[in-house]
Symmetry: C2
Subunit: 313 residues, 2 copies
């Protein structure tokens, strides 16, 4: 007779990496979209992926080639549970290649789901390295600027990706994100390959001043300082060319009252931060109108900084 | 009959610029050394410098060529008091070319003294641009990473030197600075000219991570994070060659328990931060012993982060 199957269902949210001033080291979670993963016990030893929805057949069922599967498998090996019979169902509810941390959400959901069904052997912080490993097989790089927020929630600083020296930043009340995903294809590897591996000392000084100002603004609740600081002088000028109408959107968004606006992750999504939900909504209308006028399909998300990250649902 | 001469005497402290992770944008004040300036009213219209002590004849008496004089004069013009009869006596009580913000202390003391004798027409923040102008004639650059702390006190972030977007950072209790000035000649223009005007993106990312981690460490009182963050991967490796025995000192200082250690300003002074005064003193003994063993004269200063800056004495 089969074991009683007590399943768990978890959700891990999208995330905005880089945040203008923290290339590779800063990211925050939003409320939605995100990915759902269901895990059930099974009689057959080992982890299996039995269902993938919403990925248009693009994601592998092979555990070690799948972001969520790999992350979960490495965690299971770490805790000595790799022989446990587990079936994983992945419901992709967010787009690939959007710059919203899609693979990171899958990786975060993967470790979260397995950890939940096993009675939480690990804390979220202990799960993080395995989620990062999972995203690495999709993205090639070992970095936590999407996975960190997607799993842990909040605005996360990753001082060092090598050591996963990660810190939740204080976020003032009222801070809202508006994020638009225009249906334009930008491959992460393209948006990485166009970046110069050099920068000027002057730009680097400006960028250090801006990330420092941004953090002080967050801690002091100084929205003006957050706004003045949200300027990416290094990455955005190189990547903006990959996103049609980027500067038209950015100019209009700042005109509408946003504190700042830049590229979400590797793009093509664009995010803005605002001091309250009303401005965030006006900013959203502006973003939508511009892409729609240009006949580019788009999806809009308005959210506080999601403080929960991956959750059991 | 001459007017009654009611004079004021002010002190402005030395400061540590750059602080490893904030080249041109971070600095803090220490309790001493520093400069004193005395200002008295005079019957003769205009500002005059009537005495300069401790500068070995190296500082000009001509107001517009003297750091303190220029700063004070520009401020007097701003408030419409340039015809006021004022005599300034400058007592240099700290060395030139030490990397301790000597010219900045003079500029800060200059504006502070004139402002005090005139009954405080300006706030310290309003005085700051004139002090920065004063230092500029000594240093060539318009930046506030020494002048800001010397005038305002505290650990100061200058997000932008162009706009003097300056912010006092929270400093946790217990944080101590140990600073040694080895009597070695390093000219600021040399230490600027050896710097590459390019840096790698990788180093820039590390530096942004480190300044961000440093600030989060300060705000959270997380001394371990402060320590991990206090790593200058851009400037220090280029400038260390100008300071004999720098790495011997740094290694020994970290071994003695300091959180971090780097070059103060343009050098040759070296600073360390420690989590309490006992470690700061042990660090000081280590620094002194090494330079003394190498037969290099040196002066040691141990201090909290001075929160007052320029004061009336």
């Amino acid at each position: 007779m089969a074991k009683i199957k007590t399943g768990v269902k978890v959700f891990a949210p999208a995330s905005i990496a880089n945040v203008a001033v923290g290339y590779d080291i800063l990211g925050f979670a939003i409320d939605k979209p995100g990915d759902e993963i269901i895990v059930n016990f099974s009689d057959t030893p080992g982890l299996k992926i039995t269902e993938i929805r919403g990925a248009k057949g693009k994601l592998p069922f092979e555990v070690l080639k799948n972001t969520a599967g790999f992350a979960a498998q490495k965690m299971l090996e770490h805790i000595g549970e790799e022989r446990r019979g587990l079936e994983m169902k992945i419901h992709k509810k967010m787009p690939f290649g959007s710059g919203l941390g899609s693979s990171a959400a899958s990786a975060a959901a993967g470790v979260m789901a397995v950890n939940e069904i096993l009675g939480r052997p690990l804390t979220k912080s202990q799960m993080l390295p395995f989620a990062v490993l999972g995203e690495q097989i999709a993205d090639g790089a070992y970095h936590a600027d999407n996975v960190g927020p997607s799993l842990l929630g909040g605005m996360q600083l990753i001082r060092s990706n090598d050591t996963l020296d990660i810190h939740r930043l204080h976020v003032p009340k009222g801070l809202y994100a508006t994020v638009i995903y225009p249906h334009i294809k930008v491959l992460t590897k393209d948006s990485r390959s166009i970046l110069s591996d050099q920068t000027s000392l002057k730009q680097c000084i400006e960028q250090t001043g801006n990330i420092a100002g941004f953090i002080v603004g967050l801690y002091n609740g100084d929205f003006d300082l957050i706004g003045r600081s949200l300027q990416d002088v290094i990455i955005e000028p190189q990547r903006a060319q990959l996103i049609p109408h980027f500067y038209e959107v950015k100019d209009a968004v700042l005109e509408a009252g946003a504190l700042g606006c830049s590229i979400s992750g590797a793009g093509p999504s664009i995010f803005a931060l605002s001091a309250n939900s009303l401005i965030a909504e006006q900013v959203g209308e502006v973003m939508t109108r511009i892409f729609t006028n240009h006949k580019i399909k788009n999806e809009l998300f308005i959210s506080t900084i999601n403080q929960e990250g991956a959750i059991l649902i």
